[in-house]
C-alpha cells in the first residue's frame, strides 16, 4: 500500500529529451496543477539525498528546504508504503546515533521538524515491542523537504522508500526555480509535457 495511492501514476518518459531521460529508477509524478509549459522535477540520479552510492547522514543536502521561495518549501518527503520495511528501528525516524533508552530504542528522532509519525500496526506485543511492524507517515504540514530522512532511508541502510518530491500544488513555477540555482548537484530539471508519452503528461492528484 502506498501512502498516497492516487499519486502513483508514473511518468514513463521515453528516450527523448537527452540527459533528462537518464533520471534513474525513481519515478516522477506530476499533478493536475502542472503548468502547461513545464514543471520542475528532482532528478533522483543526481540529488545527493536520493542517488545511490552516497551514504551517511552527515552528507545530506538541505538546499531544497532552505532555498525555495515558498515558505516551508514546495518540496516534501513522501514515504512509499509499498517499499517501506516497516522496521521497528527505522533510521529515518530515529537518530540511530543517539543514546539507547530503556526500551532499547534510540532516544532522539532524526527529523528536525518532528514531521514523521510512527505507529504500530496491529497488536503490540507488550512483552516485546520489537515483535511488531511500524508504519511511518510524513506530515506534509510539517515537512520542509530537508532531505535528512531521505538520506537515512536510502539503500543499503534503508529500503529507499522515502523520496523527495516537488509538490506542484505548492510550487509557483517561478521559472527560475531558486532551488535549481542553488542545487549543488544540478539535480533540478525542467521537463515539458512534450516529453511524456504521446506528448501528454500523466497526471495524478496532489
Amino acid at each position: 500500500m502506498n501512502e498516497e495511492p492516487t499519486r502513483r501514476d508514473v511518468l514513463g518518459y521515453g528516450a527523448r529529451g537527452a540527459g533528462l531521460l537518464v533520471l534513474g529508477s525513481t519515478a516522477f509524478y506530476l499533478t493536475k496543477k502542472a503548468h502547461a509549459k513545464g514543471v520542475w522535477v528532482i532528478d533522483p540520479a543526481k540529488c545527493i539525498n536520493i542517488r545511490l552510492g552516497t551514504t551517511g547522514i552527515d552528507q545530506f543536502c538541505d538546499k531544497c528546504a532552505t532555498t525555495c521561495v515558498i515558505p516551508l518549501s514546495a518540496v516534501r518527503a513522501v514515504n512509499d508504503f509499498s517499499k517501506c520495511g516497516r522496521c521497528c528501528i527505522c533510521p529515518a525516524y530515529f537518530d540511530v546515533a543517539s543514546d539507547i533508552g530503556r526500551d532499547g530504542l534510540p532516544v532522539r528522532k532524526l527529523c528536525p521538524r518532528d514531521a514523521i509519525t510512527r505507529e504500530a500496526i496491529g497488536d503490540v506485543d507488550p512483552d516485546d515491542p520489537l515483535n511488531n511492524f511500524y508504519e511511518y507517515t510524513i506530515d506534509k504540514t510539517k515537512c520542509n523537504g530537508c532531505g535528512k530522512c531521505v538520506m537515512a532511508c536510502k539503500e543499503p541502510a534503508g529500503l529507499g522508500s522515502i523520496r523527495l518530491e516537488i509538490r506542484y500544488d505548492l510550487c509557483t513555477d517561478c521559472n527560475r526555480c531558486a532551488i535549481s540555482t542553488a542545487c549543488p548537484e544540478d539535480a533540478l530539471a525542467r521537463i515539458t509535457r512534450d516529453l511524456a508519452p504521446g506528448g501528454k503528461a500523466v497526471e495524478s492528484s496532489h
Binding site: 545511490l52 552510492g53 551514504t55 520495511g85 516497516r86 522496521c87 521497528c88 528501528i89 527505522c90 533510521p91 540511530v96 546515533a97 539507547i100 532499547g104 530504542l105 496491529g122 497488536d123 506485543d125 520489537l130 515483535n131 511488531n132 511492524f133 539503500e155 543499503p156 541502510a157 534503508g158 529500503l159
Partner: protein
C-alpha cells in the same frame, strides 16, 4: 581471536570464473569445494579460487547448499533445483505455496530446511521433498522480520536452527519442531557486538565448533560470536563495497570463512590468525 583476509577470487567480469551481473549464494561441501550461485549458474571453485566446473540453473539461484550425499540444492523463486555433484539435474521441488522465494537451505539427518523469504519462515521437509512443518511462522508477526527480503539460517550439530531475525536485531534459536529456545543480539551503533541500522544481521552461518558468523549491511561487516552469543571479533567494512547487502557466508573444514561481496561480485576468504578453529 582475529580473522584476516587471505584471498579474494571470482569478481565481476565475463570470464568463466567470474560473475557478470549477480552473485547471491555460497555453499561448501565436505570436500571443501566452494559452490557459488549467480547469473543463473552454479560455479564450483577449489579453495584456491580455481574454477572446477559450472552449470546453468533453470532460474536465477539465490542460495546453494550441499547435503552429505553431495546433492547440490539451489534455492530459486518458486522452487529448489537438485543436482548431483557433476551438475546433472536430478529433480526440482516445486511447492508454490511454500517455496515462494528460497534464500537459504540446511540439513539435519533426513530433514531439509528451506527458508522461504516470501512467507518469512523456514519450511521443514524430508529428503523426499514432503513438507513436515514450518518454523518461525506461528508468531505475532506471522514470520521473521526481514525488510531486506532475505531470510538466512544455519543448523548446528544438534539439529538446532540459528536464524537471523534482522529487524529484531537478533539471532534466534529454534528446534526443528518450531520451539523458540532463546536468542541473543540487540540494536546499537556504538559497540561492535550490537547490530546497527534498521535490520541486521542479514546472513548467518556456523563454524564447526558452533560459533555464529554473521554479516551486516550499511556498513558491511563480518562478525563472530560464540554459541552463547558472546562477541568475539569482526572484520570490515573497508574490505567490502559499502553498498553491499545480503552477503552470504560459508565456512570450510579448515575454519576459513567465505563471504560474498554482492556488488563487486567477489568471494572473500578469511582465516583465523593462529590456524583453524
Amino acid at each position: 581471536m582475529q580473522y584476516r583476509q587471505v584471498s579474494v577470487f571470482a569478481g565481476k567480469g565475463t570470464g568463466a570464473d567470474r560473475f557478470a551481473e549477480t552473485l547471491y549464494g555460497i555453499g561448501i561441501d565436505a570436500a571443501d569445494l566452494i559452490y557459488a550461485v549467480g547469473d543463473s549458474e552454479v560455479k564450483v571453485f577449489d579453495t584456491q579460487g580455481r574454477l572446477q566446473q559450472r552449470w546453468a540453473t533453470e532460474k536465477p539461484g539465490y542460495c546453494v547448499s550441499i547435503s552429505a550425499d553431495r546433492t547440490v540444492y539451489v534455492g530459486e523463486i518458486g522452487q529448489v533445483e537438485l543436482f548431483d555433484a557433476g551438475g546433472r539435474r536430478k529433480t526440482a521441488w516445486t511447492d508454490p505455496e511454500r517455496l515462494g522465494f528460497v534464500t537459504s537451505i540446511g540439513f539435519f539427518g533426513d530433514n531439509v530446511f528451506i527458508a522461504d523469504a516470501k512467507d518469512r519462515c523456514i519450511r521443514r521437509y524430508n529428503k523426499s521433498g514432503e513438507w513436515i512443518n514450518n518454523i518461525g511462522k506461528d508468531n505475532r508477526t506471522k514470520g521473521f522480520l526481514i525488510p531486506n527480503g532475505y531470510l538466512d539460517f544455519a543448523v548446528d550439530k544438534e539439529g538446532v536452527l540459528h536464524v537471523a531475525n534482522p529487524a529484531k536485531h537478533r539471532i534466534e534459536r529454534y528446534t526443528m519442531n518450531d520451539e523458540l529456545l532463546g536468542y541473543f543480539g540487540r540494536f546499537g551503533t556504538r559497540q561492535p557486538e550490537d547490530f546497527p541500522g534498521c535490520c541486521n544481521p542479514t546472513n548467518l552461518t556456523l563454524t564447526r565448533q558452533g560459533d555464529v558468523v554473521v554479516t551486516e549491511k550499511a556498513a558491511p561487516r563480518l562478525k563472530f560470536y560464540d554459541r552463547s552469543g558472546k562477541f568475539l571479533t569482526f572484520v570490515g567494512p573497508e574490505l567490502f563495497d559499502p553498498n553491499c547487502k545480503n552477503m552470504d557466508i560459508a565456512v570450510d573444514s579448515q575454519g576459513r570463512v567465505y563471504v560474498l561481496d554482492t556488488i563487486r561480485l567477489n568471494i572473500h576468504v578469511f582465516a583465523c590468525e593462529g590456524g583453524a578453529d
